[in-house]
Symmetry: C2
Subunit: 162 residues, 2 copies
């Protein structure tokens, strides 16, 4: 199969300049604000996005290592298959995050629930649609045990108001 070429449609600005500062997941970083700056040639594509409260940002983990097939998730010390964890160090360094829209203004989306490094190249934006995307009854592999009794490490809630 042929390689696929993807063009950045914008750039993400956040307060996080070092990987170790980024919270494990944006859901826990409610008080941090980021901006997705869309290149002017794609601005028309933002029309009506303000009607959604949340979006998926799809982006390139440009500072991650490529090609790893196993890795240790942030929450634990055991290695798992790369497709069973959310580590940035993966065969195609593509990331997805659900973020909360605060405002759509000109060619920018201002958002909270931020878990991205400053300068991350943006590949796509899709509305989060609970009617399609929400799954309530799930098994969450190695992750569930950390949440059963809220026994997750302190670093999980780092940068969070809660």
């Amino acid at each position: 199969m042929k390689d696929i070429y993807v063009k950045p449609i914008g750039i993400i600005h956040t307060p996080y300049t070092k990987p170790e500062d980024v919270p494990i997941q944006g859901k826990f970083a409610t008080n941090i604000i980021g901006t997705a700056e869309i290149f002017p040639e794609y601005q028309e594509g933002l029309k009506d996005l303000g009607g959604f409260s949340h979006v998926y940002l799809i982006y390139h983990f440009d500072r991650a290592q490529e090609g790893k097939l196993v890795g240790k998730p942030f929450l634990e010390d055991e290695e798992h298959g790369i497709f069973a964890i959310r580590s940035p160090n993966r065969p195609n360094r593509v990331g997805i995050s659900v973020v909360k829209i605060e405002k759509v203004e000109n060619n920018s989306i201002i958002f909270s629930e931020v878990d991205l490094l400053d300068g991350t190249p943006l590949i796509d934006i899709k509305p989060y649609i609970s009617h399609f995307d929400l799954r309530e009854k799930t098994r969450n592999g190695c992750v569930d045990k950390h949440f059963e009794k809220e026994r997750f490490p302190k670093r999980v809630s780092r940068s969070s108001k809660k």
Copy 2:
């Protein structure tokens, strides 16, 4: 910014060979089974994926039109910005779907809740983790009105048991 090169890690097999046969969203296609065949060189990355009930498949809309900035979503006749809808005809033809894992076997994931065309190149697999990904209180732009009184078109539930 530089273009990003992405290599297919596998291929998706489904019963849908024509775009018009694919249901609007996989959540409504509970009785249809698809297979994600991972190329053998990436098989190690599937370790422990069976502990999750749902995954995100990230893939290339290889038969879509590139570059469109507005489009009409399946549910309506009005045009919206491409980043406010889930149409495959977008600047980077990258798609995401939440699917339900039925079984992980050797280098294959057998899954239900299928909304993908047969032969779709697979880019990445990430576990769906409700603790991170679930957002309950959302505004869903132009989509909400179709679900308020379950007034969505019949085609939405096509291929569904329900």
